[in-house]
Amino acid sequence: MLIRIFSLIFLVLASAVPPLAQGTDPKPLIDALAKANFKQAEELIAEVAATGDPRVVAPLEAFAEGDLYARKADGVVFIGRSAGSQIALVDPLTGAEAGEVAKSAATKIKVNNNLRRAIRASLGGLTLMSPDRGARLQAATAILGAPSAENLQLLEAALAKETDAEVKTRMEEARAVSLLSSDRSLEEKRAAIETLAAKGGRKAISVLRSAQSSVDEGLKDDLDKAITAIEGELALWDMAQNVWYGLSLGSVLLLAAIGLAITFGVMGVINMAHGEMVMLGAYSTFVVQDVIRSSAPQLFDWSLAIALPVAFLVTAAVGLAIERGVIRFLYGRPLETLLATWGVSLILQQAIRSIFGPTNQEVGNPSWMSGSFPLGGMMVTWNRMWIILFSLSIFFALLVLMKKSFFGLQMRAVTQNRRMASSMGIRTPWVDAFTFALGSGIAGIAGVALSQIDNVSPNLGQGYIIDSFMVVVFGGVGNLWGTLVGALSLGVLNKFLEPWAGAVLGKIFVLVLIILFIQKRPRGLFALKGRAVEA
């Protein structure tokens, strides 16, 4: 009964919108997708696109997204949106609602990478004349990856009408790609190679290289010249990219180490639970996001900003508890401190494992932390860029706190001469406690940032503890500037070794170099006097 009503509605709707004159009706083609295998589906997509009917854009897009369903009762194909245990069906061409069915009453039409590629290319051809500038740009980009003779004609027609400069360049590049594999004249192909050479970048090289085998003899030289030119330019950008990666790795090291620079560097406590403070910070982020997701999803892009103070307070409180509960009894006994804090780290790990489970927790990236943007010939990912800026701002904020504030003054006084500071009326035990809490809190803040690029699991901290100690010792115990320089130089060194020696050997080389360096300068890059040195 229901089905009959649906098909009735459908019939009425279908007759209301007459098929466009220029081609065959795409409806039967779309319905045929229900029974097609991947190969047949690919042909069907081409046929659907060939109808030239602008209404097919919606079903094709839905197909690429995996939102196309066949109703089991009659095999009719719909666009479906999941609504709880039901699927809301929509007619693929008219967009008219066709009611809801249970999930089990509709089969999803499967899509794979090949089909997605085919759909993108077909859509490119269909939306090339779209009034929307973004759609045209996207279409030109899609066609760039799918050279064919038909696309060449489409592009030339579109180019004649195009007025926007950026879209025009993109279309010309796409035209050049299609032209290279066509049977046009040598002159036109030579011009196409020049267009691509001017475009530069990996994609151009890829296109030119694949043309190498099929192109006419007379063009071989032009092709080689274009490839060499692009490669030369890319080599320079690769260098810049490497430095950038090094800074980015360095900033992560800095983030991980900066809390330790206070607890170990300034106070001289060998804090093995430092990594777990980072981990707690990351879990705080997870909890904050969880609350936001369930109660105020519109705030999601602010989740990291909200998580920062939360993480700071949580880890600072834990740090304070550790200092008051364990460490204060162990000052001046480094071995016992090491064992005790290591025990604390195990307890924290297992506690988190018991509360949240041993598996990774999903911490989402806000939209401003996702994706990348091109800078000249290199790609800069947003999350890495924000992390570099973030770690530097934390560093300078901490520096100001240490150098300009009254608390910083007390901290330095206690570090340099405990007894004298005590005689001047400074309550050294509380300064110790708050310094440790500060170091822990900063580790927690680092955890918020690291949750964006790493796993949020109970083991998160273990991965950073060795690196953090390495940075602090290398930079010079007790000196914040040393930590900065140490972290950034280790990052850059690592990234320059990596392409040459591989990630595994690269890491070993860095360790060996540090050991040699410490042999020569046991107090690191920037040696400082303080309690850590005297102890």
Partner: protein, 429 residues
């Protein structure tokens, strides 16, 4: 310091596990089985789930009346991701707790560590994880995938359907990826792929900075040939790897990544929106449509009291191994090791993808190979399914193992029979 740390960890874990499980002393007529999975340390992330799955299977079996008229009892120990400790715990399970069989291990290192113990004390281990092959022991059943049940069909799929001609083999630096990549390289070259079209890359455990490697992959992929990445990257390192891929805009339509260690569980910590279309090859996906699977998932959700817990391939392997053991014990009428070893060969039990898995004489099992694409909801959609494949312990593509076969039936009873020389005893164990 490191040694100190290790030792401390081992002691602590040992102390914890003995206190935790001594309390559950059994009444006399139960049959005990051992569960040997890390519940702490780096591997806890993967292995804890398998421990839960085993407890669920035992509970379900007991609801059906147990086995040979007795209830089953699971003895759980925690080897704390420490390979030598696996051997100690295995010895404890067999000698002290007198378990009839052990279900456990995840990494190959842990399996290699317990192998001599099982052979010496003549007990049975069911190993539920995909592995690199090149091993067959009288006392171990490998219910996960051998390379020919996972890696090779995946590569075939990419070459045939996606027309891939250039390959990046990226893995974590340890035995499973190294051996798998060796087999894959030999296989690809036998298919006519040139050496310069294969790039092999290894990274340390827990690698988190993938910027350089993802850029290398992009560069390698710009040679004008269709490129794919075959990833044997393990566990934790996958999340930052996929995040970097997504951020640098490497789409599955341009450079697909097929992974052998990434399942539903690993994707749980990720926003999979940008990863749609990247692939994984397994013998089971949670999204498989079959009655057995629907029932299994329902039982799992009820057992864990959490309907968001995912199921994964090693769980299916544990399920098959457990059921095969139950059937073999019932056929033999005893849990005695030698009798069970005899009766289990040829035992066929339903798997979760709608077919049956049979225990073969080489102690591997038959199972179909599924290729799945990652979906936006963190599940996989099967894009190809092969008929059941027999696990091949000794790879046909490595020169020094291509003549070897394993057959544990009488009279051969050999794990490395060389068909060229006609003698038992070639390479390996």
């Amino acid at each position: 310091m490191k040694i100190c740390a290790r030792l401390g960890g081992a002691l602590l874990a040992a102390a914890l596990s003995t206190t935790a499980f001594n309390g559950a002393f059994a009444q006399e007529d139960t049959i005990k089985i051992g569960v040997l999975h890390s519940l702490s340390g780096t591997m806890a992330i993967s292995e804890t789930t398998l421990k839960d799955a085993m407890l669920m299977l035992v509970e379900e079996q007991n609801k059906k009346g147990g086995i040979l008229g007795k209830k089953l009892e699971a003895v759980v120990v925690d080897p704390a991701s420490d390979w030598p400790l696996f051997a100690e715990k295995a010895r404890q399970l067999i000698s002290q707790d007198k378990v009839a069989a052990v279900f456990g291990c995840w990494t190959s290192s842990s399996r290699k560590s317990v192998l001599p113990v099982f052979e010496e004390l003549n007990s049975i281990l069911f190993y539920p994880v995909q592995y690199e092959g090149e091993e067959s022991s009288r006392n171990i059943f490998y219910t996960g995938a051998a390379p020919n049940q996972q890696a090779i069909p995946a590569v075939d799929y990419l070459a045939e359907t996606e027309g891939v001609e250039r390959w990046v083999l990226a893995g974590t630096d340890y035995v499973y990826p190294q051996t798998t990549n060796k087999i894959l390289k030999a296989y690809l070259m036998s298919k006519g792929v040139a050496e310069e079209d294969i790039m092999i890359n290894y990274t340390p455990f827990g690698h988190s900075d993938w910027q350089t490697i993802v850029t290398d992959i992009k560069n390698f992929g710009s040679a004008g040939k269709k490129t794919a990445v075959v990833s044997t990257i393990n566990g934790d390192a996958n999340v930052p790897f996929y995040k970097e891929l997504a951020n640098q805009g490497v789409k599955a339509e341009d450079i697909p990544v097929v992974a052998f260690s990434v399942g539903e569980e690993e994707l749980a910590g990720l926003d999979t929106g940008p990863l749609v279309g990247h692939l994984a090859a397994w013998n089971y996906f949670q999204s498989v449509e079959s009655d057995a699977n629907a029932e299994f998932i329902e039982t799992w959700h009820a057992f864990t009291k959490n309907d968001k817990r995912v199921t994964n391939d090693p769980m299916e392997a544990a399920y098959i191994g457990f059921n095969a053991w139950v059937k073999a014990v019932e056929a033999a009428g005893t849990t005695d090791t030698d009798a069970v070893l005899d009766s289990i060969i040829g035992v066929s039990v339903p798997n979760l993808s709608g077919g049956h898995s049979t225990v073969m004489p080489n102690h591997h099992i038959t199972k179909p190979v599924l290729i799945g694409e990652i979906q936006a909801d963190g599940q996989f959609e099967v894009v190809q399914e092969t008929p059941a494949v027999v696990g091949d312990e000794w790879s046909d593509y490595l020169p020094d193992s291509k003549d070897l076969i394993a057959d544990w039936r009488k009279p051969m009873e050999c794990g490395n029979f060389n068909v060229a020389t006609g003698k038992c005893g070639g390479k390996g164990s």
